[in-house]
Amino acid sequence: MKFGILVNEGPYTHQASDTAYRFAKAVLEKGHSIYRVFFYHDGVNNGSRLTVPPQDDRNVQKNWTELAGTHNLDLVVCIAAAQRRGMLDEGEAKRHGKGEGSANLAPGFRISGLGQLIEMGIESDSLIVFGD
């Protein structure tokens, strides 16, 4: 089965992203595929390369980046939600004059529009929402 995953909450405050990550791993292990993981609302903060959790805690962003690398996942961060929360890729940082090196989108993530969420709903056999 082809899954779409929507993550609506940021890391650490809510468990949503951790649960989504575990769900993603589980479906891949079972031989299913993931069409896309879409990050919305505070969920965009899962893609910040600047998070520095304590060493004895899990690293939510890194978990996603590594899973995406291993399974070639499409991790999409909503552009409108990202911009108002200060999540920028290189192109957006430049476009908004935020200065060199200010881009904070982690490897494995890309920024795109809400159309990608709707498309995920259309293209996936099953869309699962992880939120509050």
Binding site: M1, K2, L6, N8, Y40, H41, A80, A81, G113, L114, G115, L117, I118, E119, G121, I122, D125, S126, L127, I128, V129, F130, G131
Partner: protein, 150 residues
């Protein structure tokens, strides 16, 4: 967590693929958190995809449709008028849960009037707000292909 299943038709071109039933579930008050506003942004973008769209309002989400909203005192954008514009984008089914209204001391009369012009019926003006009870809403949810909960 919401699950929906729809078997894939391999090789079907986008134009040939059947429309999916999308339900947006609004559970949060319009202000206090950003969920309502950002959900509205999804609904507006989603309207361009020509799918079968419904909205559900339950729990504190029923306050999103309350009439006479005034946000001057809290420095937030009042986006309540946008719901009335959704009919022009083909979003004409607003299911409001009666139990949620009742629990909050509200009636349908406390909600703004939202209508659309039915192009299949001589552009007659019809109400978009459809009061349903919890059991009816449950059935509605089970009939959807995609349920987006915010």
């Amino acid at each position: 967590m919401t699950v929906s299943t729809e078997p894939e038709k391999p090789g079907a071109k986008p134009a040939e693929r059947k429309k999916k039933k999308f339900l947006y579930v609004n559970r949060k008050a319009p202000y206090g958190t950003i969920y309502a506003l950002e959900t509205l942004e999804v609904v507006l973008i989603g309207a361009a995809f020509d799918q079968d769209v419904s909205l559900a309002f339950l729990d504190d989400g029923v306050f999103q449709l309350a009439k006479g909203q005034d946000t001057k005192g809290i420095g937030m954008k009042n986006f309540s008028n946008t719901y009335r514009a959704l009919g022009d984008f083909g979003v004409t089914k607003f299911y409001v849960e009666k139990e949620s209204l009742q629990a909050r001391g509200l009636t349908i009369d406390d909600l703004q009037s939202i209508t659309y012009e039915d192009e299949k019926d001589g552009f007659k003006e019809k109400p978009s707000i459809l009061p349903v009870n919890r059991a009816e809403l449950t059935k509605l949810m089970s009939e959807q292909d995609v349920v987006l909960t915010f």
